[in-house]
Every structure is written in C-alpha cells, then in structure tokens.
C-alpha cells in the first residue's frame, strides 16, 4: 500500500494531521469537538455522517471516561473503520465462469474509460482473456478513446457505429466474447446523470441484453465515482443502484483531491463496498481498496 500511502499523504497533511493536532496532548474541550467536526467536513465526510460520528464519539468519551484529546484518536479510528467494514469488499480476479461480465457505470467525466483500461491490465496480468465492449455510443470519440486503451493493453475492443443502440453493441460484444473464447467482458457505458430517466432506462436495457445472453450476467456492476465529488456522489450511487444494482465502487482521481471522505457514507449508508481506488492518469495508477489501511493511512504522521 506504499503508493496509496503517498497518495493519501496530502489528505493527511492537510486534514488528518490536523486531526492529530486537534486531538493532541490536551483536555477535551468544546473547541476540540468543533475542530474535529470541521476537519471531517472538509474531507467531504458529509454533515450527517460527521454529526453521527461526533455524537458516537462523545458518548464513548463519556462512557469510557476519556478526558484527554489524544485518547479520542483510537476511538475515532475505530468508528471510521467500522463504517468501512460494515460492508467489506469481496472481490476476486479469478472466476470459474465461462464468461464473466463486468458492467461499468457512472456519471459523465467520472473516469469510467480510464478505469476500464486500468482494470483491463490488472485482469490481463492475472491470465484472464479480456474483451472490451465500447457501449458508449453517445459521446463523441468515446469509442476511439477506448480503442486507444485497448491497443495499449493488447486487448480487442468491440465497437459499433456512433449513435447505434448501445444494447446492440453489447449484444455483438457478448457474441464476439463467446466466439473468441474470452473469459472476461468489460462493458464501457456512456456517462449519464442518475437523474435522467431515459438514460437510466437505456442502462437497464444494456443489463437486460447481458442477462439474456450470459448466465447470471452482469456478474459485477461497478460504479465509478470521482473522489472530488461531494455529497452528490451518494445520490449518484443511490440512483444507479436503484436502476441496475451496483456491486461495488471505484473511487477515482484520489491523487489530487485529498478527499475520499464520501467513501464512508457510500459504504455504510448504501452498502456499496469500495473495490478500487484510481490514483492517477497512468495505466498502473490503480489499487485495491483496503479499508484498514485507508483509515490507518489517514492517521499516519
């Protein structure tokens, strides 16, 4: 987890190291609580979750007779970990299915195509035969973008003409996956706002195509979330989950935005585990999400 540690070092320096300062060698005062609240808010933890955390921490402090601010540190860590571990990630690169299907979804500009490229490489390294489906037939040059990544990964990309029904491309891709004996198909869908009913219906259609053609597909439906997003990320996850179901999340752009605080709500409130974090623009800038390390790292000096 060394590089995730680097990535999060900014978070630590700007926010959580200040938590340590706040929880330093002094008695707990009203200011301690205020400072703590402010720091959690700044990390995009969100007002409701923050309030809940502070309340539980206050109770614990009272019950355990904690009077010194630094003793709160361990308690806060435990609370944060508990949130993330309420729905732990269960992800495996291996599958005994003839064809495993992953559907990638998310709002516009969250980083779906880049995340697919990164995932593609991870799976390929583990000996999987990967095929990509370019089902974003809406955005200009989205297909070209996926094709470039496909070439770089040495993986075939199934495409259709622009503006064609994405369900049709998906169907073609499944047929191609069977024909070429691929064991993993990753479907790239167009970015869409979760509030657009028609576009969400289109996503349902893509899912239906997969369900009809591959047993129990899609086996993973991964939502890609921009870590720079604030509380709307929760609404996104909720909207997509309602439409097509979500099995996990990828938190992207965690390299510059020392935030990720929204992860606590996504996991604990919505029950969607974070599977990976995207830490940069390069193809290797992806890491499996480790809840324990995530919280530990936030507190490392």
């Amino acid at each position: 987890m060394a590089s995730l540690r680097d990535t999060l070092s900014r978070t630590r320096n700007s926010v959580f190291s200040r938590i340590q300062t706040a929880l330093g060698q002094s008695d707990i005062t009203d200011e301690t609580w205020e400072e703590l609240e402010m720091l959690l808010l700044q990390a995009d933890v969100g007002a409701t979750t923050t309030e809940g955390l502070i309340t539980r921490l206050r109770e614990r402090a009272r019950a355990d007779g904690i009077v010194r601010a630094d003793a709160l540190r361990g308690a806060l860590k435990r609370e944060l970990k508990a949130l993330l571990l309420s729905h732990p990630a269960t992800h495996s690169f291996a599958s005994n299915r003839m064809l495993e299907v992953i559907m990638m979804i998310g709002v516009n500009g969250s980083g779906k195509t880049t995340s697919i490229a990164k995932l593609c490489k991870l799976y390929k390294q583990r000996g999987r035969k990967v095929l990509l489906a370019a089902a974003d037939t809406f955005r200009a040059a989205a297909v070209d973008q996926l094709q470039v990544w496909g070439e770089r990964n040495g993986v075939d990309v199934i495409t259709g003409p622009q503006a064609v029904d994405p369900g049709a491309v998906t169907h073609d891709a499944v047929m191609a996956a069977f024909a070429r004996k691929a064991d993993l198909l990753i479907v790239d869908t167009a970015g869409r706002l979760h509030t657009k009913h028609n576009l969400m219906q289109e996503l349902v259609k893509i899912k239906n195509v997969l369900q009809r053609t591959v047993h129990e597909a899609p086996h993973q439906t991964l939502i890609v979330i921009d870590a720079a997003n604030g509380q709307n990320a929760i609404a996104q996850a909720k909207g997509f989950a309602q439409a097509v179901g979500v099995t996990g999340a990828i938190l992207t752009k965690l390299d510059g935005t020392p935030k990720g605080g929204v992860a606590f709500s996504i996991v604990s409130d919505l029950g969607i585990p974070i599977l990976f974090v995207g830490t940069g623009e390069k193809i290797d800038d992806i890491e499996p999400f480790d809840a324990d390390a995530f919280v530990e790292d936030l507190f490392e000096a």
Binding site: D44, T48, V107, N108, Q145, V148, T195, P258, E281
Partner: protein
C-alpha cells in the same frame, strides 16, 4: 439542482413561520439548519461560516421586526446574502482587436471539451466566427472528440499531432485565426490537477503565448469541499476571468458554485445544462438564489417557451382557439411544441411550489400520457382530426389498434378534447379575454 437545499430551507422556515416573534435563539436554530443544508449542498465549510455570520448579523435586530412574518424576513435575508455571494452573472468580454482568445481550464472530466463546443455554437449564433483549438494532447482521443464535435456543428477545429506541445498548437492556432479571419479562438486545454506543477506551468505558458482575454474555469456542479482549492489554485496561476458550472442538469445542489465564487471573486458566466450542444445558459444569480429558496424558476421556463415555441404557429393556434375552430390537429401541434421544450419533469420543476407536488408526479407518467395521446391522434386520418365527429365505432377501433391502446382510451381522449373545446367556446365569447389573448 438546488431542489434538495430549497426543501430543507423551506422546512426550517415553515417551523419559524408558526412562531410569533423571532428571538436570537430562534435565529440560531434556523441558522443551524441552514448551515447543515449548505454543508450537505457541498458549500465549503469556511464559506458557510462567513455566510452565516453575515446572515446572523442582519437577522438579529430591527430588520426582522419590520417584516410581516419572521420566517419571511429570514428567507429574504438568506436570499439577499445568497445573491450577494453568487454575484452578478458575468458576460463574456470579447471586445478589442480580433482574434479574441478564450482559454478553458479545469480538472479532468469537468466537461471542457463539450463546453468548448457549446460555447463555440453560442458565439456563432451571436454572429462571431469561432475557431476551436484541440490543445489536449494527453487524454486518448480528446483531439478526435473535438474534431467530431466540430464536424457535427460545422465549426472549424484547429488540431495538430498529439506530439506537438500544447502551447505551440495554441500559438499556431492564433496565426491561423488571423489568416482565416476567425474572430474568437477557443482553447480546449487538457484536464489537469491544480497541484500538478508541471501541467500548471504548461497553461501558464499557453497563457503567455496567446494572451487570452477570457480564462474560464470549467467546474463540475457536483464538486465537493475541494472546490475552493481548485478555484483558488487556478486563479492564482492563470488569473481566472469567469466560471462555467457544468452538469447542472443533475441533482447536485451545486454548493461548489457558491464556494468558488466566494474564493475567487470572479463571476459565474454560464451554466451547462445537458449533453446536447445547445444545453447552455447564461447564469442568473437571482434565478439560482430563488431556486435555492424553493421559489421556482419561472424566468427560465418562460425563456425556454419563447425559444422553442414557434411564434407563428402559436399565433395561428391562438387565432383558431378564438374562433373555436381548434381541432385535434392543432392539439397535436401544441403537444409537439411542449415536447420540444424538454423533459416534462424538468419543466414542472421550474414552476413555483411544484417542488413538493412533482415528487408524486413522475415524469414517466406525464411523459407516457403525452406519448399515448400523440400516438392516438397520429393514428387518425386528417379528416378525422379536423372533425372528430366522424369517428364512429369502427373508426375508433382502427385508431385504437393503430396506436396500441384500447377503444376506451380513444373515447377518453375525445371526451377530454370536447370539454376543452367547450371551454374555449366560452372563453372566446368573453370579449375581455379575447382582447387579452390578441395582445401577445
């Protein structure tokens, strides 16, 4: 996008409204709720703190007592402060010798390329001759994306190989603009993180070489607390002249707009409100503030109607309504005009007070009903549309089969239409109404 916030504030003020006189304690209770709402709306916590301090000073004291109800007074103060914080909507400053350069900057995935195309389209409609410049050589197929958008909109795109450094591409584009008599050059730069020093140095270089008169930060309406750091860093490095907020058509409460405006002091110039190239609107602080407070957005609705409604067609229909000659063909025309204005759910949300109602009224329902009505009328012959009395049982069965509904649905539509017709007859016999309708 601000619906969530407006609902919360509404709830707070409802509670206030039931009380008599507003005390300092009342204000603090209200402001606590306002604080929570603003934080959940992703307004930066520092900005929230300053904002509430200003509201508090104004709320406790004389101003409150002068007004009718305490709730209204607080709404007004919050509204006014929101207006002050959001500032005036800025216009593009494109005066001076051509070509004028507009540089678009922002993080990855904020929507720069789509916005570049939208801006070019808007400027062309305003009589300018824009040149789009593909200066993102990093993201795979970013150049192709702008080229494709340019082709779709028939707007010239200057692009070079991805191996040419972006500052050079931009400089070449200026030369080309002068030769080709383009009067606005729009630079679509690559997405970059504000902390990426090398990449930030690159846009400084672009800026020095091209001397943009407008440097616009393209920001995602969904951005969280980081918004202040993003806006601040870009402003310090390249000197922003304005903001464009994108993906405003979602349900993000868009507190980022308030944060970024507060930290940079530069105006918000446009809102990007959809994926289509014309989903682009000037920013109106009063409308946004009203929307935050749940007062609806009637101005946008009226403007939408003005743009989309064919004036001649509307006049003709009004004329026919007057003379009670309104038939099913006119009705179909009206239906299609309304459909052009966009998803009905979006339209309903703009109507004041509809926020609460529209939750129960799903867009699918109304949209589905409109579709069915359109299908039924489309299945009629022209004669039948002009004279619905022709529709006997056999004809009705045919129409029902043609539009995939039951005869019952056809009857229901005809009944409603007859009622409307009767109403119009009554209206048109009222001379005062006649005059009102004739004076659009």
């Amino acid at each position: 996008m601000f619906e969530g916030l407006s609902e919360k504030l509404q709830a707070v003020f409802d509670r206030l409204g039931r009380r008599g006189v507003l005390s300092e304690a009342d204000v603090d209770v209200a402001l606590r709720e306002v604080r929570l709402a603003l934080l959940e709306a992703d307004v930066n916590f520092k900005v929230v703190k300053d904002f509430l301090a200003r509201v508090r000073v104004r709320a406790i004291g004389a101003e409150v007592h002068k007004s009718l109800t305490p709730g209204q007074a607080v709404i007004k103060i919050v509204h006014d402060e929101l207006l002050t914080t959001l500032g005036e909507g800025g216009k593009l400053d494109l005066g001076g010798p051509a070509p004028r350069v507009v540089m678009l900057v922002g993080l990855q995935g904020s929507g720069k390329t789509t916005t570049a195309a939208k801006l070019a389209l808007r400027l062309r409609s305003a009589g300018r001759k824009p040149l789009l410049v593909a200066a993102d050589t990093y993201r795979p197929a970013a150049i192709t994306q702008l080229e494709q958008l340019g082709r779709q909109l028939s707007i010239t795109v200057h692009s070079e190989s991805a191996s040419v450094p972006p500052p050079v591409i931009c400089q070449n584009a200026i030369t080309r603009a002068i030769q080709g008599a383009f009067d606005v050059v729009i630079l679509d730069t690559a997405g970059r993180l504000q902390i990426d020093d090398k990449m930030m140095a690159e846009i400084e270089d672009v800026r020095q070489r091209t001397k943009p008169c407008e440097t616009l930060l393209i920001a995602d309406a969904m951005t969280g607390q980081e918004a202040v750091n993003i806006a601040d860093a870009f402003n310090k490095r390249v000197g922003l002249t304005g903001l464009i907020l994108t993906k405003v058509d979602g349900d993000a409460r868009g507190g980022a707009a308030i944060s970024m405006r507060a930290v940079t002091g530069v105006p918000i110039k446009f809102l990007a409100t959809g994926e289509k190239p014309d989903a682009f609107e000037p920013f109106h602080p009063d409308r946004l503030a009203s929307r935050i407070l749940g007062m609806g957005d009637v101005m946008t609705l009226i403007e939408k109607a003005q743009v989309e409604f064919d004036e001649k067609e509307t006049l003709r229909t009004a004329e026919r309504m007057m003379t009670a000659k309104f038939d099913l063909e006119d009705f179909l025309g009206q239906l299609r005009q309304i459909k052009k204005m966009g998803p009905i759910g979006d339209l309903l949300k703009m109507i004041p007070g509809f926020n609460q109602i529209s939750k129960d009224l799903t867009p699918e329902m109304t949209e589905g009903q409109m579709k069915r009505t359109e299908a039924i009328i489309s299945s009629m012959t022209r004669d039948e549309r002009r004279d619905p009395n022709l529709l006997n049982a056999s004809r009705k069965r045919r129409v029902a089969r043609g539009s995939g509904v039951d005869v019952q649905d056809v009857n229901e539509l005809l009944k409603q239409f007859k009622q409307a017709q009767t109403m119009m007859k009554q209206l048109s016999s009222n001379p005062r109404l006649r005059n009102m309708l004739k004076r659009p």
